[in-house]
């Protein structure tokens, strides 16, 4: 904001000008005309009149004037804005905003300004933004004034408040006004009233205002300000907790995505799939390939790239999963430790294969437009990317629950999980169910890879970072229980984020690991153990 640098004296001068200027109410061309003629005093009046006119076209003209870029053409007295463009000036007509080609400085008179006028112009531009037709600009101006808390902006704010229709902006302006009142020498009663208004706002800026007030005043006002600051501190602390919970949920959703496929394969088959992380990696690389193809052949589809990548990643990872099950894992049932070693070997092979094909360095996966940016919810800062990943994790989770509960495949899978020999005796083709389950778990890992490609580096080592965390989640939540996985992932995510501010990211993670190690001792079958009568 230009007027942030403006001395208070000039602003109060502006305030009086504003009131005087509102009586003039002349149209823009006439005012602009009077800007270029007459004494500096007359010009000051004209600037004030322009400021109160609230005409959006006035702002660039005033800015040009302050920068010494406003010219009058000698031939027809037309006012022009000239921006330096090499040796020439790129000219635009000041009032209409039309381009007037380029020209040399000869034949043009520069409108002169002095420092006093420059100051008044800056303030005028500021108040023009307070009355700008664009609501966002008005709001920004009000917010800036709130942080500035200057008694001299009171008049401008009063005037703007009178004309404001938008309730939210009106609120911002009255808060800014309250902050200005607190900085002025208004009577104590008014100040206490203002403190109440600022206190309701309840964010860090409000806290700063109240702290400053408490430091510079005494008596009734000081008490009110101190109490208000304390209340705001509590509000902020509550929001901080909420923000940590959100970060925790966000981390939890990532853990959930990575672990949920593992929960299926581990739960159903008792198979430790060490190559699970590599399935996630394959999903991420599928996204990369899809985006590359889209970039070269159909750039307009880029926003849909993730949606296209989802089914493909599911098929690629799921297909490879079934292949692995048929070629390796089915020979190792009943020998979980050997499966662990074989799948670890497999993960090495997959990593090296991807490294040989795509190279060892990180690959660039872009974010579609609907996943970038952020929004404010109260004092929470929520990025769209994270929000979509949380939503996606929940959707995948819900879909999986439906699949397990409502489809024949789900029924078979549950039966095999609970009692394999019995299920087999009832005529369920357990090898087929095993293959499909493994494919499903791997496919979901592939889906997770699409989501994780948005927040992590897509490199051959992508999967390794998640494998231990995923195991922790599954073991913590309880094997063979998807809700356990959901609770486990969210709990671990939140605990991790709450530890981070106190212990640092690495130590927090170590503490979580130690906690899980101890937890498994207490409940070796996890948070929600599957009840059954089978002995291991």
């Amino acid at each position: 904001m230009l007027f942030l640098r403006l001395p208070a004296v000039l602003l109060s001068a502006l305030a009086s000008l504003l009131i005087a200027g509102s009586a003039l109410a002349a149209d823009l061309p006439a005012l602009v005309g009077s800007l270029t003629t007459g004494s500096f005093g007359d010009r000051e009046t004209a600037v004030g009149a322009l400021a109160t006119s609230g005409d959006a076209r006035a702002a660039p003209i005033l800015e040009a004037l302050a920068a010494g870029q406003l010219y009058v053409r000698q031939s027809d007295n037309l006012v022009l804005i000239g921006k330096t463009d090499g040796n020439q000036l790129a000219l635009t007509e000041a009032i209409s905003g039309k381009s007037a080609g380029t020209g040399a400085e000869a034949g043009l008179d520069r409108v002169r300004v002095n420092n006093r006028l420059r100051g008044i112009i800056e303030a005028a531009v500021g108040s023009l933004t307070l009355m700008s037709p664009d609501p966002a600009v008005r709001r920004g101006a009000a917010e800036a004034l709130f942080k500035r808390r200057d008694a001299s902006s009171l008049a401008a704010l009063d005037q703007a408040l009178a004309g404001e229709k938008d309730a939210r902006i009106k609120r911002s302006m009255s808060e800014a006004r309250a902050a200005s009142v607190l900085a002025s020498d208004a009577p104590a009663a008014q100040k206490v009233e203002a403190i109440a208004l600022v206190r309701e706002r309840g964010d860090r800026d409000a806290l700063a205002v109240l702290q400053a007030t408490a430091a510079s005043s005494d008596g009734e006002v000081k008490d009110a300000a101190t109490a208000g600051a304390e209340a705001i501190r509590q509000t902020i602390a509550a929001w901080e907790v909420a923000q940590n919970v959100w970060y925790g949920i966000s981390l939890g959703s990532v853990l959930l995505l990575a672990a949920i496929g593992l929960a299926i394969t581990f739960g159903t088959m008792g198979v430790i799939n060490m190559a699970h992380g590599e399935m996630v990696m394959l999903g991420a690389y599928t996204t990369f390939v899809v985006q590359e193809v889209i970039r070269t052949s159909a750039p307009h589809l880029f926003d849909a790239s993730l949606l296209i990548a989802l089914p493909l990643a599911f098929l690629v990872a799921g297909g490879i999963g079934i292949l692995i099950e048929r070629s390796i894992i089915r020979f190792l049932y009943g020998r979980p430790l050997e499966t662990l070693l074989a799948t670890w070997g497999l993960s090495l092979v997959l990593q090296q294969a991807v490294r040989s094909i795509f190279g060892p360095s990180n690959r660039e996966v872009g974010a579609p437009s609907w996943m970038s940016g952020a929004f404010q919810l109260g004092q929470l800062n929520i990025t769209y990317g994270r929000l979509w990943i949380v939503v996606f994790a929940l959707v995948v989770f819900a879909a999986l629950i439906l699949l397990l509960r409502k489809t024949p495949l789900g029924l078979y899978m549950r039966a095999v999980t609970q009692n394999r020999p019995m299920a087999s005796a009832m005529g369920i083709r357990t090898p087929r169910v095993d293959a499909l389950t493994f494919g499903l778990g791997s496919g979901i890992a592939g889906l997770a890879g699409v989501a994780l490609s948005q927040i992590d580096n897509v490199s051959p080592n992508l999967g390794q970072g998640y494998i231990i965390d995923s195991f922790m989640v599954v073991v913590f939540g309880g094997v063979g229980n998807l809700f356990g996985t959901l609770v486990g992932a969210t709990a671990l995510g939140i605990v991790n984020k709450f530890l981070e501010p106190y212990a640092g990211a690495v130590l927090g993670k170590i503490l979580v690991l130690v906690f899980i190690i101890l937890f498994i001792q207490r409940r070796p079958r996890g948070l929600f153990a599957l009840k059954g009568r089978s002995v291991e």
Partner: protein, 372 residues
């Protein structure tokens, strides 16, 4: 009596094998020291260093095999015990540098001066004495193994759950040791060692002695393992591996058996790490990475779990392959290692040693059939 106890578990093959290990540990260093460099029989010191390294790996593999092959505990965290032993030795070696470091501080190692330490952290005291470090080399890994095993075995955490816990343990330790404020060198670890027991670690004669020490430690490990496995205790151990619940129902305190062998194995791994560090000249948190521990498991699997010779042979074969392949075809190494994991579990559940005895029995039955 102790000798009888130690020798009772050894059959003829194992006795020969221990003698072979000792012979390697004696003859190669002697050839290095006594033969002139030009002679055909001269063993260059890089070979000694390599052999010493392999022997340390073999001892680590033996430790893994003791718990996995004989007691059914698949530990994916033995690399952590190895690294802890290594760190204890590293701390001793760091203190021996004295004022010869880059910063020339007589007490503080270089990295501490660099990180603005004012005085030695409490856990560094005593490491200037070799005897103290030597005790710590066994004590620190044993204590960790005891703490972990005490909780885990008592609450009957078994199978893959235990594997995951041990993996989480080594992962947590890796993260912890990467931190600079641990006071253990952070991500750079410890290096630039000068002396061990007053002898320069760079000298050929020291290398020769270290190579012998590796062979001796391995032979000792083999003898002790054989004694344990061959005793009544060892029989119970194998029974725990095969039918843990049944042993419990029979009245054995299963967790005691497991805990003892787990702690012993951790101490062996610690010793291996301690001899390893002066030979490679560096110890850093990378040694804690879960991948290292799993690699140690594959040495055992390749050689043959449940045998004492197997892990030694497996460790040497795999590491020789690694040395050769990472030099000749670096791209291929991970493919080969991965394929080895898969192939061994699928086709060679008893490892190379198992394959050898399979061939021998097949040959024997053929011979037995021939006259008929």
């Amino acid at each position: 009596m102790i000798t009888r106890f130690l020798l009772q578990g050894m059959d003829r093959g194992l006795r020969l094998f221990v003698l072979l290990v000792l012979a390697i540990g004696i003859v190669l260093p002697l050839l290095n020291q006594l033969m002139p460099p030009g002679s055909a029989l001269h063993v260059p010191s890089w070979v000694l260093q390599l052999i010493g390294k392999y022997l340390c790996y073999a001892l680590l593999a033996l430790a893994v095999d003791l718990v996995w092959g004989f007691c059914g505990i698949l530990s994916l965290g033995h690399g952590a015990f190895f690294a802890l032993g290594g760190y204890c030795m590293g701390m001793y070696l760091m203190r021996q540098i004295g004022s010869r470091g880059v910063y020339g501080n007589p007490v503080l190692p270089d990295f501490m001066v660099f990180l603005n330490y004012k005085e030695l952290p409490w856990f560094w005291h005593g490491f200037d004495q070799f005897w103290f470090a030597a005790i710590m080399i066994f004590l620190v890994p044993s204590l960790l193994a005891f703490a972990l095993g005490w909780f885990a075995f008592r609450s009957r955490v078994t199978g893959v759950y235990l594997s995951i816990i041990t993996q989480a343990m080594t992962f947590a330790l890796m993260l912890a040791f990467f931190r600079n404020d641990m006071g253990l060198g952070g991500n750079n670890g410890m290096t630039d060692f000068k002396d061990i027991l007053g002898f320069s670690v760079q000298a050929d004669s020291t290398r020769a002695v270290l190579c012998f020490a590796s062979a001796f430690a391995l032979a000792l490990g083999l003898v002790i393992s054989a004694a344990i496995v061959g005793s009544r205790f060892g029989k119970a151990l194998t029974a725990v591996r095969d039918a843990e619940s049944r042993m419990r129902f029979l009245g054995y305190r299963v967790e005691g058996y497991k805990l003892f062998v787990f702690v012993l194995s951790a101490a062996m791994a610690g010793l291996a790490g301690a001899i390893y560090v002066p030979q490679v000249g560096i110890i850093n948190p990378g040694e804690f990475s879960p991948a290292n521990s799993i690699e140690a498991v594959i040495w055992v699997a390749v050689g043959g779990r449940g045998t004492l010779i197997g892990p030694v042979i497996g460790a040497v074969i795999v590491n020789f392959g690694k040395t050769w392949l990472t030099g000749a075809l670096p791209e291929v190494w991970l493919f080969a290692l991965g394929a080895m994991f898969i192939a061994v579990t699928l086709f060679l559940p008893k490892g190379v040693v198992g394959l050898w005895s399979q061939i021998r029995t097949r040959g024997a039955t053929r011979k037995a059939r021939a006259p008929a």
